[in-house]
């Protein structure tokens, strides 16, 4: 299985704080991979390092075989590597439908194309995806008026609208009620299987990530602590210690 994302010996420090140290991991194309670790272990920093939010101090990040460390966020996004935010981010004063329309892929747009109206095909696709995430009835409401959970679903829909090849999801189930979590997991699997989008997921909810991911990396104190299949991770004493605070 070829890796779509390869992170090699990545290091990132903020002043004296080492947030990521010597991290090497690979996400195979078409799979769902998890990233876990206690609070402050460097998970979100690693996501930031991957999508170009900040420059890394050392190491390399390759997406689809090409080096992307050093590229800026929008360029990496246009290559098909997209992330969602831990603190959900949507365009609050725009309607859900508008949120979806502006999320359509930006890859081969010329300067003049910014004057065009969104094509009808985009609108149909946006409505289909809103239906997929269960927000069709609310498509004309302002996104800022939705509940937190609904905004999270909208953000997920927007990411799909962008036709990414790979999605980095930062705690997709945080703040969502248990019923909705089940539905969301079902949707994540469908996206992975039917749209062939590779998923790399940060998650604190253990039952979610153990069920969802085929392979899991665990961070602690900015370093890679363990990796393996879910059952191996669950049985790993180092992981248990890290979560219980013995580390």
């Amino acid at each position: 299985m070829t890796a779509i994302l390869e992170v090699e010996r990545v290091r990132k420090t903020f002043g004296g704080v080492v947030a990521n140290d010597d991290i090497t991991l690979a996400v195979p194309a078409g799979k769902i991979v998890g990233l876990i670790g206690p609070n402050g272990s460097g998970k979100t920093t690693l996501f930031h390092s991957i999508v170009g939010y900040h420059l890394i101090d050392a190491g390399s990040v390759r997406f689809d075989g090409r080096e992307i460390s050093g590229l800026r966020v929008p360029r990496i996004a246009r290559r098909g590597l997209l992330r969602t935010f831990q603190q959900t981010r949507i365009y609050g004063k725009m309607t859900c439908l508008e949120n979806m329309l502006i999320s359509a892929p930006q890859r081969e747009r010329s300067w003049l194309s910014i004057l065009r109206r969104p094509p009808a095909a985009d609108e149909a696709k946006a409505e289909d995806l809103l239906e997929f995430v269960g927000l069709y009835a609310k498509r004309r409401l302002r996104a800022g008026d939705l509940s937190f959970g609904q905004q999270k679903l909208l953000e997920f829909g927007m990411a799909l609208m962008n036709e990414p090849r790979m999605l980095l999801l930062d705690e997709p189930t945080a703040g969502i009620n248990p019923t909705l979590i089940k539905a969301l997991m079902h949707r994540l699997r469908r996206v992975n299987e039917e749209l062939a989008i590779t998923l790399f997921v940060i998650e604190h909810n253990m039952s979610v990530i153990m069920n969802l991911a085929e392979y899991i990396y665990c961070l602690a104190h900015g370093e890679l602590l363990a990796e393996g299949r879910p059952e191996e991770i669950r049985a790993d004493q180092r992981v248990i210690d890290a979560y219980l605070g013995a580390h």
Binding site: A77, F85, K93, Q106, I114, R116, Y136
Partner: protein, 330 residues
């Protein structure tokens, strides 16, 4: 669709009234001409300030640059009045756009209040610069050429020229806002980091938006210089404390981020201000100050913004009660 028809009727009615006004109330031609200028000010300010969330206090620079550019062409090109005027307007627009592109590449990287402060400095700097440059008359300003037609013809000509500019500005912005461009600058306003994370060409959109504003401000400046007949660097061309602040206030008063809000705000503001001059002479600046306070205190989201929060369903923000199409998502 009914709202669309209503908006057409409204636009048609206003346009008819505007076209007939020079015959109906000839004495008010200049005042109404300045209403058109105010509407353009508010509309073009709102492109960045309302739709894109970048509060610019320096837009008056493009107005002043257009004014001077046109006057210089009229003075030095050696052409008849009208060819010189139209060539001057073209040069005014081109220079304003070029300036917006250059300034934009530097300043639009700043966010929030930093951008506002930087643009504030821009307006002051331009005024100081113009009052020191002999080529454009320095502190004593410039006089635009005499209008060749009969007496009173100048007022009518510039009335219609500014009306045409206002209508063009409105229609062009309406077209732009209804497309990808409008969505993109709204997205930048709501969350620029998110827009970048979604792969939007944010810099390109931001610069284009400022260039669009600058185009119409440059053209307007060119026309206003000729309407007034005299260009003072600080009080007419780069009039930051008056025009520069008013454009912000008018857009906020009407409701920033909406298409009709700035138009409405400009109309209310201009009429109120004219009334102050007529009936409260001597106290007009105090009254204006109180009006500004009232706007900021009671209409922080503007007239249309207030209406939208009061009656969201009238603005199309409704929940679709119909059953969802079959083949469910969850």
């Amino acid at each position: 669709m009914r709202p669309r028809t209503a908006s057409r009727w409204l636009l048609g009615g206003l346009l008819t009234l505007a076209l007939a006004a020079p015959w109906l109330v000839p004495a008010y031609r200049t005042q109404i001409s300045f209403l058109w200028v105010m509407i353009i000010f508010a509309l073009t300010w709102d492109t960045l300030g309302g739709q894109m969330g970048y509060n610019s206090f320096g837009n008056v620079v493009f107005f002043g640059v257009g004014m001077y550019a046109c006057a210089v062409v009229q003075r030095d090109a050696g052409l008849e009045y009208f060819p010189a005027l139209f060539l001057g307007m073209a040069v005014a627009a081109a220079l304003a756009v070029a300036l917006a592109a250059v300034l934009g590449s530097g300043l639009l990287g700043l966010r929030g209040q930093y951008f506002a402060i930087a643009t504030l400095g821009l307006g002051f700097a331009a005024g100081e610069f113009a009052s020191g440059w002999d080529f454009i008359g320095a502190g004593s300003g410039m006089v635009t050429p005499l209008y060749p037609g009969e007496v009173g013809g100048r007022e009518s000509f510039f009335y219609y020229l500014l009306l045409a500019l206002t209508v063009t500005t409105f229609l062009v912005l309406r077209r732009l806002y209804s497309g990808r461009f409008g969505l993109a600058i709204n997205a930048i306003r709501d969350d620029e980091d998110k827009a970048e994370a979604m792969g939007l060409h944010t810099t390109r959109y931001k610069t284009t938006a400022w260039c669009v504003s600058a185009t119409f401000l440059g053209l307007t400046g060119a026309a206003v210089g000729n309407l007034i007949g005299f260009i003072d660097p600080r009080d007419v061309a780069f009039a930051g404390p008056t025009f520069g602040v008013w454009m912000v206030l008018m857009a906020i008063l009407g409701g920033k981020g909406t298409l009709w809000g700035p138009v409405l705000g400009a109309a209310v503001f201009h009429v109120t201000q004219e009334l102050f001059w007529t009936y409260l002479l001597g106290w007009q600046r105090v009254a204006l100050g109180l009006l500004i306070l009232a706007i900021v205190l009671f209409f922080p989201v503007g007239i249309l913004g207030w209406a939208r929060e009061r009656w969201p369903e009238r603005f199309g923000h409704t929940v679709d009660e119909r059953p969802e199409p079959a083949e469910g998502g969850s």
